[in-house]
């Protein structure tokens, strides 16, 4: 089976894991052993080892259960949820390390190690190559990775050490199992002698193997595959899923990764929609206070990040500050000087392009790598990685964010449970919260081990966007403006009565009116001159529409309109204008009490000629109506207030005038 070269999900140890050829071959064989069977024993769509088989294999290594557990975690299988080639190889190497007595850490596997031993494996035992390198008499049971190979081998069965017959994992297809089983004890018995035997055999086998490889496509595949595997191994083992081109930064917690950057940018947007402007000090203070860091530390963070000392944060400054806070939450002491990777110049996101340099990667050595894994694979392995800043670094969500994100974290309950295993106390909370956000799988990018951060930020992005949108329309004026703008109904007949229906409605609802239709007579003297004549397509022109009465007569309109008409009948009184024309409004108000509401318009109504009844217009009208209603309400309020003011002013004026008159005769005298 081939393990696609790219299939090696970059989940490995985050370092270059040197694998000797023999190791590679063995590992690939073991991997294929564990892989689910496919027609030709080929790889599953995503080459991965079946968990159960892997488990069996691991148990066969006779390591204690918790070691195995550790190994699984370290290799990242938990993260991914399956054993990809990368994880598998790392796991194998870790097993070898454990069997050699080394501690189960990533560093252990950097060195040359004997091959892992798997006892009592019911699979075929393939004591193929006694690897020349391994002198320890390591016994191997390497299943035949390729069916073709196996068949070929079968043909070679003459050998004592012949390989097992079944192409794939013996578990999957135990054709020649009996012989294999036999072989197993045999292999055990061999020990050193076996190894010695193996070696020549291995050599010979390898020779055969190579020739075999030359033959047949499968073998060719295998040969290439091993090369590919090797390359893929090295590739994925060298660097994490982080942007490969940018990674390999040595130990720099002060670099911002792309995901982090995007997250920060989204947070910035939530505070300040315009990315080019500043976040004021108080806004930033409130925001950062949510991080629950002590105030002196926050003060220090501010000092570090506000480079221009203007009391406000630009986007790079904000990112730097956020990054420092995140780092601090993860246990990093705050630096005395701003690290140069956090300088605004450095961070200047010309068009916010992700800074490739940022990679919190192998920098942290194993802890980092593991953390990377954890991060990537949406599982936390904090037990093995102590105080891993990168782990939760991008995932520190302030309460606001968490509360926002939490609702969206619906899926992947198991993740949550896994995450609760986190050891870290402080980070636990943040992690647990943040990991809930991770549970949004749909946002995973192509690179399969996308760090959770991206998930987080995707979710945050999703969240941020609506937030930013709503952000803008908070004020009444804005709402009103919005009310004005949207209703650009498609064909707003300027000065024509074509939109009679809408016209009617508008009049009726005292909402925006279209441009005055020509037929629209000037209102009777009671009504002050209306501006709408020239102005509007815009909505907010509000006129006096006392004519509810009229409405029913007119409407061939749909009933909803009628209902609206009826609804709006009561508040027909005040004359409303566009809010910008306040003067007129005042005038209107003056006249409003006096002018009778109803009167004039009836005359006007009939003037509306054609009524467009296209549903499209209706819909547009209805939306326009809605918006206009809102604007209406606002303006009505404004109206009433202004009316009151006017009355008061009038009273004052009258009072003053009387006073004046009273005084005048005195002075005149």
């Amino acid at each position: 089976m081939e393990q696609g070269p790219g299939g090696a999900a970059a989940g490995g140890a985050g370092l270059l894991l040197p694998l000797s050829d023999t190791e590679q071959q063995r590992y690939s064989e073991l991997f294929s052993l564990c892989c689910s069977p496919a027609p030709e024993g080929g790889s599953a769509p995503a080459p991965a080892a079946g968990g159960s088989k892997v488990g069996d294999l691991f148990r066969a290594s006779q390591l204690p259960a918790d070691t195995l557990h550790q190994i699984t975690e370290l290799c990242g299988a938990k993260r991914v949820g399956y054993f990809g080639p990368a994880q598998f190889y790392v796991a194998l190497k870790l097993i070898a390390a454990a069997q050699s007595g080394l501690p189960v850490r990533i560093e252990s596997i950097k060195s040359e190690l004997p091959l892992p031993r798997f006892m009592a494996l019911k699979n075929d035992i393939e004591m193929r190559y006694g690897n020349a390198a391994e002198i320890l008499g390591v016994k191997f049971q390497i299943p035949h990775p390729i069916l073709e190979k196996n068949s070929f081998r079968r043909s070679d069965e003459g050998d004592k050490k012949e390989t097992k017959s079944p192409p794939m994992s013996p578990m999957c297809s135990p054709p020649a199992s009996p012989s294999n089983y036999q072989r197993i004890p045999l292999s055990y018995g061999y020990g050193k002698s076996r190894s010695k035997l193996e070696q020549p055999h291995g050599v010979s086998y390898e020779a055969r193997h190579s020739t075999h490889q030359q033959d047949g496509p499968a073998t060719g595949n295998y040969g290439s595959k091993s090369a590919l595997v090797h390359s893929s191994l090295s590739r994925f083992l060298s660097v994490e899923s982080e942007p490969q081109d940018s990674s390999n930064y040595p130990d720099d917690p002060w670099r911002i990764t792309e995901e982090q950057r995007e997250y920060y940018i989204n947070q910035f947007k939530s505070l300040q929609p315009d990315l080019n402007s500043l976040i004021s000090g108080s806004v930033a203070k409130n925001f950062f206070t949510k991080s629950k860091l002590p105030i002196p530390e926050l003060s220090h963070v501010w000092e570090l990040s506000d480079v221009d000392c203007d009391g406000a944060l630009t986007l790079p400054e904000f990112c730097a500050a956020f990054h420092l806070i995140v780092a601090r939450k993860n246990g990093y002491p705050l630096p005395d000087m701003l690290p140069e990777t956090l300088l605004p110049d450095y961070l200047q996101p010309a068009s916010l392009k992700p800074k490739r340099d940022c990679a919190l990667l192998d920098s942290y050595s194993e802890s980092l790598s593991v953390s990377q894994q954890t991060r990537d694979f949406n599982r936390t392995e904090l037990e093995t990685v102590c105080e891993d800043p990168t782990n939760s670094e991008p995932l520190i969500l302030f309460d606001v964010a968490t509360s926002i994100v939490e609702p969206t974290s619906v899926e992947e309950m198991p993740d949550k449970s896994a995450l609760t295993q986190d050891a870290n106390s402080d980070d636990n909370q943040a992690l647990n919260i943040s990991t809930t956000t991770k549970t949004i799988p749909k946002d995973f990018k192509p690179s399969q081990h996308l760090s959770v951060k991206t998930v987080v930020q995707e979710s945050n992005t999703l969240k941020a966007r609506p937030r930013s949108r709503s952000y803008s329309s908070t004020s009444i004026e804005e709402a009103m403006k919005k009310g004005e703008e949207p209703p650009m109904p498609p064909p707003r007949p300027q000065k024509s009565h074509s939109r009679a229906s809408s016209l009617d409605l508008n009049k009726i609802f005292q909402q925006n009116t279209q441009a005055v239709k020509s037929g629209w007579l000037p209102p009777p003297p009671a009504l002050p001159p209306r501006p709408f004549v020239s102005q509007t397509e815009q909505v907010s022109e509000i006129e006096l529409h006392p004519q509810m009465n009229r409405a029913p007569s007119q409407t061939e309109e749909s009933s909803p309109m009628r209902k609206e008409i009826l609804l709006t009948q009561p508040p027909s009184k005040p004359i409303r204008r566009k809010f910008r024309s306040e003067n007129q409004m005042l005038e209107n108000q003056e006249l409003t009490p006096t002018s009778s509401v109803t009167s004039s318009l009836p005359a006007v109504k009939p003037h509306l000629p054609a009524q467009k009844q296209s549903s499209k217009q209706k819909r547009a009208i209805q939306t326009a109506i809605r918006k206009n209603k809102e604007a209406n309400a606002v303006l009505a309020r404004l109206n009433s207030e202004l009316q009151q003011q006017l009355k008061e002013v009038h009273k004052e004026r009258i009072a003053l005038e009387t006073q004046l008159e009273q005084l005048r005769p005195v002075t005149v005298l």
Partner: protein, 139 residues
Amino acid sequence: MAVCVAVIAKENYPLYIRSIPTENELKFHYTVHTSLDVVDEKISAMGKALVDQRELYLGLLYPTEDYKVYGYVTNSKVKFVMVVDSSNTALRDNEIRSMFRKLHNSYTDVMCNPFYNPGDCIHSRAFDNMVTSMMMQVC
């Protein structure tokens, strides 16, 4: 160059006071405290004029045999007091002014920090560093 630097709030309590540790700090605290009277005197003398016309740098507040005390007041009535060793004859007025300007700028930066509440003691590391740089030369 300075032996002791103090920032006094408008209500005449110290926001920041730091002196060279080798010396008797209490003495400097006392000196600064007594110099506040002189500062107030100078302010009130000038105070009748518009604030704009008032000089921020107050100059030598009073000399003693060991040291000199200089004062500086901001528009928000925050006072900076600096005690300088008398033996430092090389120190000119301009230098003192520039030191006060630096102090003022650093103080402004501290105020810009939204996490700093006016009236709190100043714990800013940047401010500390700046003061240290002014005091280091004394040794």
